[in-house]
Amino acid sequence: MRKRQPKTYTRLTHPLVRDRRDEPFRQASWEEALERTARGLRRNRGAFGMFSCARATNEMNYVAQKFARVVMGTNNVDSCNRTCHAPSVAGLSAAFGSGGGTSSYAEIEHTDVIVMWGSNARFAHPIFFQHVLKGIRNGARMYAVDPRRTSTAEWAESWLGLNVGTDIPMAHAIGREIIRAGLANEAFIERATSGFDEYQALVEPWTLSLAEQVTGVPAGAIRELAHAYARAERAQLCWTLGITEHHNGTDNVRALINLSLLTGHVGRYGSGLQPLRGQNNVQGGGDMGAIPNRLPGFQDILDPDVRLKFESAWDTVIQPHYGLNLTEMFEAMEEGTLRAVYCIGENPAQSEADNEQAVRRMTELDFLVVQDIFLTRTAELADVVLPATAGWAETDGTTTNSERRVQRVRRAVTPPGEAREDIDIICELAGRLGHDWKYADAEAVWNELRSVSPDHYGMTYRRLTEHQGIQWPCPSTDRLEPAYLHGRLWEPDPARRGRLAPFGIVRHDPPVDLTDEEYPIRLTTGRRLDSYNTGVQSGGFASPLRRGEYIELCPEDAERHGVVVGERVRVSSRRGAVVAPVWIDTALRPGLAFMTMHFPDEVDTNQLTIEANCPIAGTAEFKASAIRIEKLPITTTVG
């Protein structure tokens, strides 16, 4: 089979500008580019949105959200975490008041039962999975819940191949079985949770046999998982985008959290909840306040004391309401109330569900400035393109990983041409817009953040180096906190125990894009081992594993359609159609197909996906589209 190289992107080395969108870009000086940007933003004050970057440093995210809030006077700041893990943050916050995963990687090595739900960590988070493997080698039993029998699932004691979008029925049936078998942790429920009676009534209809009908998984398998999880002395529940990328992603997360509340598998060493983050700084971007509802340190904008603290620290007035999230910002573009966007390091033209719509909306903006290291599809739509540095190799700062560990990133190579660091660029713009910000270096930004975020106060750069990263919360400069969160729930003293964790009363709601006779196949999406997101970064190296984009089918479906490996077929959904070659994967079953979004320049998968968003978190239902496969009239094969 021919190895397929995706489009290779070359670094941006100079600012690019143009007067009209139908003109080509021309190289410009920084002075001109910044002046144009300042003009474009100034005239759209009040109709501005900031797309911050989940891959850039905490320091950059801090400055970017400060730019939105102080310079532009808006809370409209968000990042691509919206397209992946916002439901995890929303769900965990609702239950525990804090949006981070509750456990550390090391704990999974010392737990008894591991549930990997909607997560192919073996491919998407390989080094996290090494910690899982250590756990398995130490005797832990792993269960995998995933429509596909992925590489992760192949390590499981038991793999449960549920129908896409039936996670809530599965979770509720597990909950019901735990209660009925007398395995619920009554002491914990009584002491640390609220709403149990309502939850019990909610799950009561979800018998094992009903769950079998809805999820497709044998009742015996569900029962076994329920008992294994509930009987374990320690258990970890991990999930990824298979849970969150649904129109009801936050509800899915709540349904899983319920299981931990039911069994007391949270707030103890070795027992907890672990959402695995897709980008290097999804966690940090939110922690830094680059989200519309939180100020740095994950502090609620609606809290007047919090606002007061920031207003005096920043000498500004902070809007006392939540801003628009990414999804809402796109809707506001449609309505014309959002006219200018400052997009840093994101590629929504290719990463958004139903991306044709996203491109059209961005094209209609009055002003779009994109700051990136490559001329991405999104940058191609801009008025001004500002060449930036690669956060992880060309700048100093910190990022925060999935276990809330803040770690130092360092400049190792000199950026090309005139590319400049994000923070410098933002500060330059702030200056032109009347705010004279001076940061000597990234550490100065960080120290400002420390002064306003109690959870980060104890993390000096020196300590971060010394400890190879520190997990938040870290309120003290001379002490480290336990590596797991919510130990308070086990406190005997109700005052120290704090707010009880509420059960989430969430109901099953099948995927929006229903399969029918016309679109009989369920398409789900995910990642491959050697590729990443829209492929802009990962396309740069010569992976021997890469074979380009394919529509993956089970052998039975391929036979039914009379197609073979490499044969190009038309894949259509209710929104669009693409042509893609066929791959056959035994991990799939009849009626279930799989694609990635790693090669959008080759096969634009997001033409097929549906922009049905989670109303709470705004994440789209990438994981469930209805499609059909059609043989092309003249057979063309790749290879």
């Binding site: 039993r141 192949e154 390590w155 998984v217 039975e556």
Partner: protein
């Protein structure tokens, strides 16, 4: 495990060979056809610990394929790996470790012609050449030069193995070109091997303890065994209780007969007292030391004695599973033992409730596949577990972490069968035999330049000269190799050496496994030493540097001086000494540590190259 399998598919025959061993696959993930019967597989798959726990069936699986097809193809290996959840790269590493397996196509029939010490002295070179020219090209028989086949009393020897269902074997010994070619081309019509008793010149002597029944009882008959005092010792063991059995064995002074002479009672006690469970018993029947064949004779001639002895040992140490690791080149011993184990099981001498005493024990026979190193106890564990037969670091010792990482007693066949007379005659009477520190009887494998080669049983303390006289040593004796390739040479004027552990040690040599190979002055010594060096080079597992490279450098040096003496050889002899010293000091296991012994003794004692 997320294993990667190539595109190669097994043939129906290969699949059938594997399924005959493992049963049909349980799911389409394990290799069953993916059809309507298997729709549930696409919703629920089991795996994990249970799937990974079958690794120890890898070696039997490789045998199953090799036996049926004659070699192990990509597709066959892949299917076996899928069935057992074993990574193909590891299985390939295991398959290529063993000399009896091939991962490349070859004829269904392989004729192994022994070229080792006793056979070399009996004209193996000429035999091999004659066989090859008689067979000619395209004969459908692959001729392989083999290390010792354990048929030294009938040297020269050849073993034909024809793959098929069932696999067929034929032994030709003493082999002529015609007989060996017949065995290879028509194994079914090759003459039956002579009875095991022919290897026991003393057969029928009522004073024998270990060889008493060889040639006397029908080795296929459990009842005949019982009619000759069989299972009296086990009854006595049950009466004594486990602690009582260990006391008897300890008081008997029995020490291991494999060469290390470790007190058996202490080993049993150390294992029995380990809190970690389960405990395992392993019988080392991987008799591969060139010149050694005594265990084969016992297994072929008195198999139930070994089964009874293993049962007693297991009872004493609290083991419920025993493994009998038999060298792959012993087809008749395999047949006899398989039959005996089945009979014993059918009659309640193995199983859940042995003799109605509530004691459960069973024996699994595992076949080696051509690797001398697997006689090393920890290499043997790895081999049984389905890994490459590489020795492990000690400590921890097997009594603490042995087979499957659990407390394990490993004894060789001769050691174990001593337990039967110990329990029937009592420790004091047994200990009265032999010398004060080497008690009981000892088996010796006498071959080479003697009139009556075979296994001899003498009480410890007889001299080398007495043994050789008994065997009818021929005139012109040039040297005697004691203990096999890992042993040492002695001169014809040293026949007064008492055959005890302490006696040989005092004489600066070793008893080893009881090999007594006599060479007359027609045998060119440098050639013999070169053959020994080749043996160690071939059999080094390759794990540690001193042995992996040292055995090669040793062979190279001996090759250089094969026709040199005196000053011409002095430089290489000095080199050999330096390398030999490092091999002895720094190798992981006994193979490397002893690989220089025989050569050194030939130089120092026999004056080779002078």
């Amino acid at each position: 495990m997320d294993l990667h399998f190539g595109d190669s598919k097994p043939t129906d025959e290969e699949r059938a060979a594997v399924d005959a061993l493992l049963g049909p696959p349980e799911s389409s993930w394990e290799g069953a056809a993916r059809d309507e019967m298997r729709t549930e597989d696409l919703r629920w798959a089991r795996g994990g610990r249970r799937a990974r726990e079958r690794r120890d069936l890898l070696l039997p699986g490789l045998h199953a394929i090799n036996d049926r097809i004659g070699w192990i193809s990509d597709g066959a290996l892949g299917y076996l790996c899928r069935r057992l959840t074993v990574p193909p790269a590891e299985a390939y590493g295991v398959a290529t470790f063993y000399a009896l397996f091939s991962v490349r196509p070859r004829p269904a029939t392989v004729l192994h012609v022994c070229t080792d010490l006793a056979c070399a002295a009996a004209g193996a070179q000429e035999l091999g050449a004659g066989i090859e020219s008689r067979l000619g090209p395209g004969s459908g028989v692959s001729v392989a030069r083999s290390p010792c086949l354990g048929l030294c009393e009938r040297a020269p020897a050849a073993l034909a193995i024809r793959a098929g269902d069932p696999v067929r074997t034929a032994v030709s010994a003493p082999a002529t070109v015609a007989a060996a070619v017949l065995a290879a081309t028509a194994p079914d019509s090759a003459p039956e091997e002579p009875p095991a008793a022919l290897a026991v010149p003393q057969a029928g002597d009522p004073s024998l303890l270990l060889l008493r029944r060889v040639g006397v009882v029908d080795p296929a008959s459990l009842d005949d065994y019982r009619a000759h005092d069989g299972y009296a010792a086990l009854r006595r063991a049950f009466a004594l209780g486990p602690a009582g059995v260990i006391r008897e064995v300890t008081d008997s002074g029995l020490v291991g007969r494999g060469g290390a002479a470790f007190p058996t009672g202490r080993k049993w006690q150390a294992t029995a007292s380990q809190p970690d469970r389960p405990h395992y018993l392993v019988c080392n029947a991987d008799e591969s030391e060139p010149g050694t064949f005594k265990d084969r004779v016992i297994m072929e001639g008195d198999p139930y004695a070994l089964i009874e002895a293993m049962t007693i040992a297991a009872y004493a140490i609290g083991a419920h599973r025993g493994f009998l690791y038999l060298r792959g080149e012993y087809p008749r011993a395999l047949r006899r033992l398989e039959h005996a184990v089945a009979q014993a099981r059918a009659r309640g001498f193995l199983g859940d409730d042995i003799l109605g005493q509530g004691f459960a024990f069973d024996i699994e026979i595992r076949r080696g596949a051509g690797a001398y190193i697997c006689g090393e106890e920890t290499a043997l564990f790895n081999s049984v577990e389905g890994y490459r037969g590489e020795p492990r670091a000690k400590p921890p010792f097997p009594v603490e972490k042995g087979l499957f990482g659990k407390p394990t007693v490993e004894n060789n066949v001769e050691t174990l069968v001593n337990v039967v007379p110990i329990l029937t005659m009592g420790a004091p009477a047994y200990a009265a035999l032999g010398t004060g520190t080497s008690t009981g009887p000892k088996l010796f494998c006498v071959s080479g330049s003697v009139a009556r080669p075979g296994v001899y049983e003498l009480p410890f303390g007889a001299t080398l000269g007495e043994l050789l006289t008994l065997a009818g040593v021929r005139d012109g004796l040039r040297a005697v190799l004691l203990g096999g390739a890992a042993g040492g040479f002695v001169r014809p004027d040293e026949l007064g050496i008492p055959l005890t552990f302490e006696g040989t040690r005092e004489a600066g040599t070793t008893l080893g496994s009881g090999v007594v190979l006599a060479f007359d002055d027609t045998v060119p010594l440098p050639r013999l030493l070169l053959r020994i060096a080749e043996f160690f080079r071939d059999e080094s597992c390759g794990q540690c540097v001193p042995c992996r490279v040292g055995t090669v450098r040793q062979e190279e040096a001996l090759h250089r001086i094969v026709a040199r003496t005196g000053a011409d050889a002095a430089g290489d002899i000095a080199l050999l000494r330096e390398v030999g010293r490092a091999m002895r000091d720094a190798s992981i296991c006994g193979l490397g540590q002893t690989a220089w012994n025989a050569v050194e003794s030939a130089i120092d004692r026999l004056g080779a190259y002078e």
